[in-house]
Each structure stands twice: as C-alpha cells, then as structure tokens.
Symmetry: C2
C-alpha cells in the first residue's frame, strides 16, 4: 500500500526562499496580510486533509469506481467520497481563494495551488469533483449576471454545490466549432437546451445536492463554427427565489465511461432533454467565457501530474531503500544483508532522480505561474498586471503539457523501480500511471497545447511574451555570470537561451512559407521551452541553496537541492539537443508519407 | 472495437526480399525444403488463426480476467480461451518449430517468430499460455534426461500439456541467488520440493489437463547464491508409465495477482508443499538450464511488444483517417466535410509514423535475429553457427529492451491519436498500453537487459561481438557508399558507427576505474545500440525498395517503405545525440545524491 507525506519543506522553500511570496503579497492590497505564518499554517492543514482524508480513499475509489442507476440517472461515487467531501466543505477549503463577496476567504491563488497539489497527490479522481467546480465558479464570476452570481457563486464558494464544464460531444472535442447542442430562447429570457454531451468529468454524483452545469450550445440563428457558440448555466435542480431547490431539470447522466484510470471520478455521458438554462456572457461568445474555465483547468491539469509525480516518487524512493536485490557494481554496500538495497544501482537512482527533478521543477513552475496569476489579478500596478498576464498565458500550455508529459515519464519510472511488484495493483504504482495518462489528453491534448504555445503565444506576437520571459533569464545570467559556483547552472540556460531565440525565428520563417512546419515542430518546441523554463527555475533554486550553504546553513535540504539540480542539468536537460534536431528536420518527412499512411 | 489485419505483405518483404530466408534455408539440411510458398502458406494460415480465433477474445479476456477457486486451487481462464487453445492444438501450431523426434514439424524458428508476432498482436494474454510452454520445451529439450524427454516433450510439442517457468519468489526476482525453495533428494532419485513462488505466468489454468512446472530450487547441501540453484520438472499431475495422468502433485495456485494488464493470463502465486519433481540438468547448475528458457523468453517478450505496436498502429491509422476535427494548418483538405480527418495534422502523422517505424524496425530485427537463431542451430558450417550464436547473444537484450520500450512509446502515441476516446476502454487502445507495460519488466527488467548488453555482451569480450555486427554495417556502407540515392540512409549509420565505437571504448575505460560508470551509461547505451541496429535494418530495407523502384516496380509498398525509413532517420534516430550526451555525463550526478535521496 502506498504512503504519502505532504512535501511541506519543499513547498515552503519555493514559496518563501525562492519567490518570497509573502513580500510579493505585501504589494497587493488584497493580500497584504498574508504572511509567512499564515501561508505555512494553511498548507500544513491542507496537507493533513489530503494525507488523512482523501489519500486513504485513492485505491478503494479506483477499485470500486462510480455506479449509475439507470432508472433514476443518479450516480454514486465510491465509498467514502461523499463523507470526505463533506469534511472538505466543513473545513472551508472550496472557499480558499474565492471572492469574499460570495463567502470566499480571498486568499492568493498560490495557496490554492499548494492545496490542490497535495489533493492531487492524494487522490486525483476525488479532487476533480471540487476542482471542476472551481472552473464553473471562475466562469460565472467573470461573466455571470448579477442574478447568476447571486444564485450560484455562494453555493460554489462554500462547496455546497458543485459545477461542471459540458463542452465535448461525441463528434467534437478539440473542434468545438462543430458542436450541435441547441439552445432555444424562451419568452421569459431563459433558454431550452437540447443535446448530447460526453466526457463530462464529475458530471453526476451523490456528493452534493445540486450540480451547476456550464453548457456550450448554439442559438437557432447562430453563425456556423466557433463563432456561434454560447455558454449556459444549467442547474441539475432549479433554484427557487429563496435559494432552495426546485424541480429537476432534464439534464441527465445516461451512461458512465469505463476508463483506463481516474475510476473514482464519474465521467458522464449527459443527455439534455429541453433543460432550462440561462446564458452566461454574450450570445455567440461562449468560447470566450469557456476559456476562463479552460485556462484555469489547464493549470489544474498540470497540477494533477505534479501531484502524481510527487507521490510516485515518494513511494519509489521508500521501496528502493527497502528492497534488497543484487550487489552494487562498485562493491558490497550492505554487508549485514543478503543483498544491497536497490537504491545503490545507478539506473535506479536515475529513475528516482528523474521523478524528483520533475516534481521539484514542476512545483517551482506551478508556484511561479500561480504567483503571476495573483499579480495579474491583484497587483496595483497595471503594467505588472498586464505583463504577469502575458507570462501566465505563455506558461499555461507549458504547465499543462510539459508537466503532464513529465508525469508520464516519472510515474512510469517510479513503477519500474518496483520491478514486477509495480505491475501489481497492490503496490499502487500502476494507478499513478493510469491516472496520469488522462492528463496528457483532456483540456486540450498536449499537441493542442504545443500549437497554442508556438502558434498563438509565441509566433502570433512575434515572440514578445517569450522575450519577456527571456529577460528574466538574462537578468539571472547577468547577476550570476561571474559567480563560479553558479556556472554549472547558468551556462546551460545561457547556452540554450541563445539557441532558442534562433530556433524560434527559424521555425517562424519556415512557418510563413508552410504552416505545417509549425505543426511539425510544435511538440518538440514545447519540450525545449519547458526545459528552458525548468532550467531557469533550477538555477534560481540552486542560487538560493548555494547562498544558504555559503552562509553556514547546514540543513541537508540545500545540499539535496543542489544535487537534484546537478542531476537535472546532467541527465534531463540535454534532451533539448535531440529535440531541436528533430524539430529542425521539419515537416517533409511527416507530410510526404501518403503511401506509408495509406 | 479495434480491428486487426495480419501484416503479411511486410512480413513477406522482410523474409523474402530483405533476408531471402528461403535461400538461407537451402544451406541448412534440416530446412532445405522450406521454400517461399511453404513460408507464405504458413504465415497466411497463422494470420487467420490470430485474427479470427484469438483476437476476438482480447478485450473480453481483459475484462473478465482469470478466476481462482480457493477450495480446489483450480483456475478458470476467461471465456473462450480454452476453446481457442483447443483449436490451436488441433491446428498443430504448438509443434511448428519443435523437433520432429517428438512430433514437431521441425520448421524454422523464423516461422514461429512470425506466428507469434501475430498471436501477440491478437491477444498477448492468451498467447502467453502456449508461449510459456515453449520455454519449458526448450529447457527440457536441451537439458532433460531421456526419461524426461519421453515423458514431457511429446505432450509439450503437441500442446496437449503446457509448461511454466517457476523462478521468482516474493523476496527475489532479478537476484535469483537469494531463492529459498528447497529440494530434498528422495531414495528413488526424485526430489521433494517445498517453497513459495510468485508471478508465475500461465501458472494455473483450465486450458490443458496437465502443466509441467520447471522450478528453481536449492539442494540441501547447495552452495550459497546463484551457484547453488538447481532446476526441477514438477508436473501438476504425476505421469504414469503409460503416459496417462496419475495423482495430483502438491504444487498449488494459492492466489492470482491483480495486475495493470494481461488480465487474461493467470499470474499465479504458487505454493509447493512437498511436490515431487525430477532434476533437469546437473545439480547446482540450474541457472544454466534456466537461461535456455530465459533467452528464448527474452526474444519472445520483444515479440510481444512488436505485436502490440503493430495492432496499435493499425487502429490509430484507421481512426486518424476517419475522425474529422479541425482544418489542416495548410488549408482545407476535405472540402465536402465539416472538418478534415485528423491525419492531415503533422503531429498526428508523427505519432502514427513513430508506431509504424517501430513496428517495421522491430519486425526486421526480430526476423533478423531469429534467422540467426536458425543458423546457430542448423547451419552446417560450425563457424557460421558460432558467429550466429554470438550475434543472437548480442542482440537478445536489444530485442527485449529496445522493442518493449519502443512498444511503450508507440502504444501510448497510438492511444493519444484517439484523444479522449483513447482513454475509454471501448476503443481498445488503453489495453495495448497496459498489456505492453509488463514487457518492460518481466524476464529481466530493461535495466537488467542494458547491463547484460553493455557489461556481458560488449565489454566482457572487449567488443568482439559488437565488431561482428559492425562488420555487417561496414559491408553495407561499402556496398552503397557511392550510391547517391542511398546516402540519406547510409550517412547516418556510418556516422553513428564511428561515434559508437569511440563511445563504447570511453565507457569501457571509465568502467575500469568505476564500475558504476557502466551502470550509469547502460540504459542510454542500449538505446543507442538499438538505433544502430534499426538504422542498419532500415537502410537494408530502403536498399531493396530503391532497387525495386529503379527496376520499374510500381507497387506503392516500396514508396511507403522509403517514406517510413526517411521518417525514421529524420525524427527517431537523432535521439542518439542526446542519449550519448547524457551517457557521457557519467555516474557522478547519479551517485553523489545521498542527500537528495535521503
């Protein structure tokens, strides 16, 4: 059975020592009171909740899955899920970073990020129930009418009700322009919605008395394609003027998907049979509102893989120290034992360190990005807000795709450390692999993320956002360029930085002649960009560690951090060499293949 | 629901056009009659069996799994498995490459290889039942007494009975030196065996009336470690002198593992409670006999992933042509449709071509290697036999690890082509990923394979075997070095060949000073070696294709082959650049990490 310990020390290191978040919050009137002690108290309690309440339900939830009663259309979540959710609501966790106007605690997104990392480590399937609600909250908060806000935001903030995103239909996922669900305007200003949705996460369950579905649909006179899509709030139960529940709205779960992983989350097929909803935002501009949810969801998906990477690492490390098998190639290490613990073997260490570096790099990136989100929303200086927003937009596809791909590599490596025992369900390791697998797919496949990054976030603005990130790197290189001890961390990113600009320009030029060149390079490009960002963050973490050690701090944490950073630059970062080579090989070998793909 | 078409055309291409196996067989008295027509007839029938009999049971077997009756210790395989196995036996398939002395058909291993590729595509879990028998057959054939051969080989050849390899115990897998199962000599020359085994594939089932377990155990006076292990044949039911079944031997299934994949195969916990067995081979030399099984099994595991790569590719290709979503970046392609089929997108093509190249490269390697095995066993020239054996030994860890790692990449890529639908069980794609995952682990993890390759097969004989393979490459480079059309295929392998020798020498020198350097480089080394071999094979395939096209052959198959080879060299082969870089980064960043891995 796996174990989980909240990684509070590393979280605190990134929050306080690398990014000095409390200082940053001082500059934001809304968060000026959020000091180090408050932050530490919150993440400490959050960690306890994850480790003690939802983690014990992870394997049982996977085994049991969700059950649909085909007569009532009601879904029962795995045993214990409902009770854990009640505790979550009682603890006030859904409200953590919500707007105080609707009962929220108004704390920074960074804290919510840390809470969710640990919830995802503990139980991704469970965490998706409150996680999806948050997307609905954000969309309604940004685009809802006063009436909608009054009706829904309080309940979503408290967690009393949950929310969903009803986007996908059987024939369209990435290409929402093709969606067919219809919304007929009614005399009273509401809409009657009819259609079929699939893959609706947390789409139906028994954990809350009401579910607020945010549904994409077309008005009768809507233009074709993605410019004719509107967004609607469609509650499972109508809400009376006094806030109590009224009649059942005909938006039903007609089936549950049988999936590779996240069995504890109900992935629902939804039939909408003339359900009544209200429009969110403007007619035909539903995708705009949807993207508020989607961008939050994309950061959230990266966070899911961060959580799984961390918990997989912890368990593989414990196993590698405990399991004895063979002797070290460089001589017996555990003389009193029949064999050495497998952690003596270089490749076992490589697998462990890969997961550790991906967890620590991912955590730094998630916190870096969410702090920018806090600045985007709450910094008093408009220029800071704008620039932070640009960087968040640039980093979002990297967070989503790079961290989830890394999660795939890491969870598989950690499972591999267990040998045959990793393939057995009892070890818990194969569940991490299965659960992580969806993260590379949903909320826009990782290919879609790479096109978003290269096409929209980099080339469309001639690299302006990328240059902003490049300035941060340049600043660090400048600061530390003469520090010999930092050379091993600075040289690789300075080197890649030079190449990366040239690489980007090259693809841009090729793309002007043939847009398929962008599509051919995008996935490799995103991974290079991911390493550029990770390299920067590892250099910053090494900078702090070196400073502490130089100041006489003997906490082995700092030595560990340097070792992980060295490993990262020696064994993971050099992947960029091959990626740039294959990207440069261009589109021809992909597109001139009609015979091969006949 | 997935589909499967036996890849007969590509198999025939590799067999007849690349390796001219029928000509090779003419030189082997035992196989001199095996001509092209015979070969084609056999693989055609084999393909029909796989596609029509076992493939339809693949998903249902996964869903149902195996059932253990805890009272009788009997295991029931999924519905239809027994009937399919009966048909397999009726068809004479188990006997295909077995010794005619025991009722076998005596056909080349190459044919058995092709049969099993298709069986693995169709249903890996089912295929492991006859597959495991073959290992037992080989060990008994090589080391059994006349009595043992008489008792068992006929039944294993006909497939009437099946066999297992009982190696692993709860505390030891890789490190068999630690095993504890005991064998007490009895007055009548038999042994009474007691112990616990785990992870025994096909360890108990209802598909055959008897199971011949080959069990590793220790004699009472055995030396410690791996030099004190003996091998025993322990039948489920004793065999009377007339060949009929006698009493039940107390070797029981005490539990079945719940696994990530291969649910249709019974992975048994086996309790041996004083079961009677006979020794196979000499006392304390059981590992020698075991390695006969193991080497065959390692080639077989590579073949499992080859099969899964092929079937995953076929289904992803069909989906990519059918599923419409978004428009091509370079302009609308399917004007009559609401969107373009996703095969227009460069990255979708990249995922498909990755799987295709890994399937075609893997098929060429498996057939290349199995033809060498035929030569090793049946060539009249002793020098050819010896050299072929050396090459098989060199290639075995590459076949096992490179093809299974590629299978992981390929099945995941093919699943990704399906987007969200790939995560749903109904598509069948996620089963290919789960089934493939064990192939990277069992019969020696891929790390163990890499140590076998670099330590034992390369460095231990100062690169002698590797140089033999290098000569084949050099010969091709010499033949085609002036052929301009071949330059794009020859240059990369000539270049890598030069670097690879230097690379090997470097690691050898570093390893002399610190053996952990070998362990640190081995996994990267194996992947470079794998590409060196694939590069050679793709160049040979391209050579044939170019020759046919030059001769006016208009079969689009040859154009397709060239396109796949070009893709391989442009997008997959360059991985070697990063692998050599990370291998060269050495052991330090892995081993100086005690704080990081505390």
């Amino acid at each position: 059975m796996p174990a989980y310990t909240p990684p509070l020390r590393d979280m605190q290191f990134v929050l306080h020592e690398v990014f000095n978040v409390a200082d940053e919050f001082k500059a934001m009137p809304k968060h000026a009171e959020v000091d180090v002690d408050t932050i530490n108290a919150v993440i400490d309690e959050a960690g306890k909740f994850a480790a003690e309440v939802t983690f014990p339900l992870n394997m049982s939830g996977d085994e049991e899955g969700c059950t649909l009663d085909k007569t009532t259309h009601e879904v029962t979540a795995p045993k214990g899920f409902k009770q854990a959710y009640e505790k979550f609501v009682e603890g006030g966790w859904p409200a953590l970073s919500c707007d105080p106007e609707y009962g929220g605690q108004g704390l920074p997104f960074v804290l919510n990020q840390c809470l969710y990392e640990m919830l995802n480590s503990a139980n991704q399937a469970w965490t998706m129930y409150p996680g999806l609600s948050h997307g609905a909250y954000e969309a309604l908060h940004a685009y809802g009418t006063d009436e909608q806000k009054k009706t829904y935001l309080g309940k979503l903030t408290s967690g009393e009700w949950t929310g969903t995103m009803c986007l996908t239909e059987p024939h369209c996922g990435t290409d929402l322009g093709m969606l067919r669900t219809k919304a007929e305007p009614q005399a009273d200003g509401t809409y009657r919605i009819t259609g079929n949705k699939i893959f609706i996460s947390a789409g139906e369950h028994d954990m809350a008395p009401n579910i607020v579905h945010l549904v994409l649909a077309r008005l009768p006179d809507a233009p074709k394609g993605s410019k004719g899509i509107s967004l609607f709030a469609v509650p499972k139960y109508h809400v009376k003027a006094d806030g109590s529940l009224g009649e059942r709205n005909p938006i039903f779960c007609s089936g549950l998907e049988h999936k590779m992983g996240i069995h504890g989350n109900a992935t629902a097929q939804i039939v909408i049979e003339g359900a009544i909803g209200t429009m969110v935002g403007e007619p035909n501009k539903g995708l705009q509102a949807m993207f508020v949810m989607m961008n939050a969801a994309r950061l959230g998906v990266g966070n899911q893989s961060l959580g799984l990477t961390e918990v997989a690492f912890q368990n593989a490390l414990a196993y590698a120290k405990d399991r004895i098998q063979m002797r070290s190639l460089s001589g017996v290490k555990a003389k009193d034992k029949e064999a050495d613990p497998i952690i003596v073997h270089p490749d076992v260490r490589k697998m462990l360190l890969t997961a550790k570096a991906f967890a620590e790099g991912g955590r730094a990136l998630q916190i870096f990005c969410t702090l920018l989100l806090d600045k985007e929303h709450n910094h008093p200086d408009e220029k800071v807000r704008k620039e932070s927003g640009e960087l968040v937009a640039l980093l979002t596809p990297i967070v989503k795709a790079f961290i989830t791909d890394n999660g795939h590599i890491a969870t598989n490596a950690c499972m591999q450390v267990f040998g045959g025992h990793g393939f057995i369900k009892e070890s818990g390791m194969e569940q991490f692999v299965r659960d992580n697998r969806i993260n590379m797919i949903y909320e826009g496949t990782n290919t879609v993320q790479s096109l978003d990054l290269l096409g929209r976030k980099v080339l469309a603005n001639n690299g302006a956002s990328l240059r902003k990130f490049g300035k941060l790197v340049a600043k660090l290189v400048e600061e530390e360029g003469v520090n010999e001890k930092m050379a091993e961390f600075i040289n690789p990113i300075a080197g890649l930085g030079d190449q990366f600009t040239k690489f980007t320009t090259e693809i841009g030029f090729k793309g002007l002649q043939n847009p398929d060149e962008v599509g051919a390079a995008a996935v490799d490009y995103l991974r290079v960009a991911g390493h550029f960002v990770f390299g920067y963050l590892f250099a910053r973490m090494a900078q702090v560690a070196l400073r502490e050690i130089a100041a006489g701090n003997t906490d082995p944490f700092y030595v560990a951090k340097l070792q992980t950073a060295r490993f990262y630059f020696a064994k993971l970062f050099p992947e960029t060499a091959a990626l740039m080579r294959t990207a440069r090989a261009g589109a021809k070998s992909l597109m001139d293949t009609d015979a091969a793909l006949a």
